[in-house]
């Protein structure tokens, strides 16, 4: 084959590609469709990951502090929360109990506010926006500081908008929150404005309900877990997509097949790490690097999981570690009632 033949074929390919891809694509409101995907994905990530805590390496007290807090005030035994109406928040979600909330009728008002007095840095903000117009967004500010943005949909769902049970004092202080002093969450629904640095909306009314609320943590053994689904399988778990540039560094345990605590994983640390925890049952997973806890995943549903990253090795959250060094990952599990319920996959780049 000569270069001329190759060139001729290449030219033919260019022409074929141009001709065929110039066909008429179906008309879709791509921005709205992508926004809905973002919202769904964000909910999946936050539903599981908000209960997770990435602890500074070298700070064992960080995790112990969280555990101490989880073991805090004993709450009365509770039963699983009933199904809530679209646009309202469940009493329990992601390891927390709803302490305060505000709901607006979106057909009458496009904004609302919630004032609360925090007594702990361990809190998450939940939101739900159930309106007919799925092009609309719900944005929230805490004490006037930009905080979150979530897409709306007719069924709304319920998700976590921000915060964690990880005692993120600085996170909240940056939003002007002080313990024992009132803080205010203001929220607005509308159509997203483009070209803005922060997510902002042009107010609009629609039919439905919108809620924002604050959750405080509940000790795991007193959290109202749902019963095991009748169609549950040992390999059921959340599917996560990691960044395409990340490759799998190693794995500990395998859902339904091998116990995560039976073996360690020693790897050369890459530049960035993503730790992915997949579980098939409720429980708490702690991932250690060289004996120090670095990732804490609390799962309160059947077949969920947590995703950590990506986090730069050697930076704040993984301080004390260096790219290129050998490190050993180990895993500890608590509260799981199923065998081989945890799988930890480490990704890096």
């Amino acid at each position: 084959m000569t270069m001329t033949d190759d060139q001729r074929l290449a030219d033919q390919l260019r022409a074929v590609f141009d001709e065929h891809s110039a066909g008429v694509a179906p008309l879709v409101d791509r921005r709205a469709a992508v926004a809905r995907r973002i919202t769904r994905h964000k909910r999946v990530r936050t539903l599981s990951a908000m209960a997770a805590l990435l602890v500074v390496v070298g700070s064992i007290a960080g995790v112990l502090g969280v555990r101490d807090h989880r073991a805090g005030p004993v709450l009365p035994a509770v039963t699983p929360s009933p199904t809530v109406s679209p646009g309202q928040l469940p009493k329990y979600q992601n390891g927390g109990i709803l302490m305060a909330s505000a709901t607006i009728d979106a057909s009458r008002q496009s904004s609302g506010s919630l004032t609360f007095t925090p007594e702990s840095w361990d809190m998450i903000v939940g939101d739900s926006c159930a309106v007919i117009d799925s092009n609309m967004w719900l944005v929230a500010k805490v004490n006037g500081h930009s905080f979150s943005g979530s897409g709306c949909s007719p069924n709304g769902g319920g998700g976590t908008a921000g915060g964690s049970f990880g005692q993120h004092e600085q996170f909240w202080r940056n939003l002007g929150v002080e313990l024992g002093a009132p803080s205010t969450i203001t929220f607005q629904i509308g159509i997203q404005k483009t070209g803005q640095k922060d997510l902002t909306v042009k107010p609009r009314l629609s039919s439905g309900l919108v809620s924002v609320g604050v959750y405080s943590p509940v000790p795991f053994d007193q959290y109202p877990l749902d019963p095991k689904p009748s169609d549950w399988s040992p390999t059921d778990s959340t599917h996560f997509e990691v960044d395409p540039g990340m490759h799998q560094v190693g794995q500990v345990g395998e859902l339904g097949k091998s116990d995560v605590e039976q073996g360690d994983l020693t790897v050369t640390l890459p530049k960035h790490l993503t730790i992915l925890v997949r579980v098939n049952a409720p429980g708490i997973v702690t991932v250690f690097i060289d004996g120090t806890p670095v990732f804490d995943c609390g799962s309160y549903g059947w077949g969920m999981g947590c995703e950590s990253g990506p986090v730069a090795v050697g930076t704040e959250q993984l301080a004390g570690l260096k790219t290129g060094q050998l490190a050993t990952f180990s895993v500890q599990t608590e509260h799981f009632t199923e065998p081989n319920a945890v799988e930890v996959v480490v990704y890096g780049d």
Binding site: M1, D5, D6, R8, L9, A10, Q12, L13, R14, A15, V16, F17, D18, E19, H20, S21, A22, G23, A25, P26, V28, R30, R31, A33, V34, R37, I38, H41, K42, S146, F147, S148, G149, Q192, T194, G195, Q196, K197, D198, L199, E241, D243, P244, G245
Partner: protein, 175 residues
């Protein structure tokens, strides 16, 4: 809140071109739209880290997601029941050659198709294709060479070779 300035504008201005890339890979407008939206969603989360090259990032997600989708499908691949007509050189006119190229492209393995789309539709260098697909330049060269050889054998463009046409078919199982 993370800075996502420019994301909406990017979606509006660059989507048409990226959709064409996705279509050339998937050969189905519905799948292409799904693939593009998947990539745009991932880009939204990564946007604050993308600096000045968001299009390269999205194109990379499109290509790698397409290849990984196909890999998954590969495990339950369905083979053709009938052999295609053997390629015969008959001095076919250019238009006829193009009409044979399109179905032949559909019979290429996913990675080879991705290499050709990036090389000849996006006019990327071998190094850029390697970066996009996360493989070596040598792999890009070999995949390109194999893909072109299969297309020649399958379409008789650049000279017929019945023996290699058979090889091309066997390697061209579609997912």
């Amino acid at each position: 809140m993370a800075d996502r300035t420019g994301y909406d504008e990017f979606v509006v201005t660059r989507s048409p071109r990226l959709l064409r890339v996705a279509y050339l890979l998937t050969r189905d407008w519905g799948e292409a739209e799904d693939l593009l939206q998947t990539a745009l969603m991932k880009a939204w989360f990564a946007w604050p880290r993308l600096d000045d090259a968001p299009e390269a990032y999205v194109r990379k997600i499109i290509a790698t997601t397409f290849v990984s989708w196909r890999r998954r499908l590969w495990t339950r691949e369905v083979t053709h029941g009938d052999l295609p007509d053997a390629a015969i050189a008959d001095g076919t006119a250019t238009v006829d050659e193009r009409s044979r190229l399109w179905p032949a492209l559909g019979r290429l393995p996913s990675r080879q198709r991705a290499v050709l789309v990036l090389r000849f539709f996006e006019d990327m260098t071998e190094a850029q294709v390697a970066e996009t697909l996360g493989c070596s330049i040598g792999t890009v060269k070999s995949q390109t060479s194999k893909a072109l050889a299969k297309l020649r054998a399958d379409t008789a463009i650049g000279g017929p070779d019945v023996a290699s046409a058979q090889v091309a078919f066997e390697g061209g199982v579609t997912a």
